[in-house]
């Protein structure tokens, strides 16, 4: 089980701020592809990866990051702080 968080328009498209997901996915990309097949709302949220960022255990990561031992993943658009 992995805790998956969504922020900003990614959260709005998926419809929940966080959820626990049962997955065997080896990498972030594998998880994205798995979710896109599960339901249309994931396909919509993950449609354009160039406008998506990912944090693995609260560290910015690449889509190729491995999920073994990972507790928390977050998906969000490019950040707009400041």
């Amino acid at each position: 089980m992995i805790e998956v968080l969504y922020f900003a328009w990614v959260r709005e498209r998926i419809g929940v701020p966080r959820e626990r997901i049962e997955t065997e996915a080896a990498t972030v990309m594998d998880l994205i592809n798995e979710l896109k097949l599960r339901e249309e709302r994931y396909a919509w949220a993950f449609d354009d990866l160039t406008s998506l960022r990912v944090a693995v255990d609260q560290e910015l990561s690449g889509f190729d990051a491995a999920l073994a031992g990972v507790r928390e993943i977050a998906f969000f658009p490019p950040m707009t702080g400041g």
Partner: protein, 146 residues
């Protein structure tokens, strides 16, 4: 060094005065304050979302990076989240150093990185509806100068 992430307004004067008073040995204190632009009255409010837990860690890492590049005596970052009105202060940074060049450079570095590496997302609410603020390429490009 202090990182404050809060919904409540902050007292710019009190924080600036306390920061300067505590910056022992400093010859320069630079403060920057970011305000919500009201776009000529078109903005009803701005909603700022963040990633509790990661936000504090990401900002702390940015401040540590600044401290490794410049001889800072102290640094402060305050960033708000939640619903803000036009003209309200969103965030501030303060840096203290022996000389102004370091304090200015570090403050700019902190601002550039907070823009695109701290997990905040802004949504503008206007009479036309609500829209997420898109990240600007110029902000991402600004990181390359460091």
């Amino acid at each position: 060094m202090r990182v404050i992430v809060q919904a409540e307004p902050f007292d710019l004067g009190a924080l600036s005065n306390a920061f300067a008073a505590d910056a022992g040995g400093a010859g320069a204190v630079v403060t920057f304050t970011g305000l919500v632009r009201d776009n000529g009255g078109a903005l009803a409010a701005m909603e700022i979302e963040h990633y509790p837990g990661m936000t504090e860690k990401a900002i702390t890492a940015i401040v540590e990076e600044a401290r490794s590049r410049w001889a800072l005596l102290d640094a402060l970052v305050v960033h708000r989240y939640g619903r803000l009105a036009g003209g309200e202060a969103i965030m501030m940074v303060a840096t203290a150093a022996r000389h102004r060049a370091e304090a200015f450079a570090a403050a700019e570095f902190l601002m550039d990185y907070l823009k695109s590496r701290a997990p905040f997302w802004k949504k503008e609410l206007t009479s036309d509806g609500a829209e997420w603020v898109a990240a600007r390429e110029v902000d991402e490009a600004a990181l390359k100068r460091w």
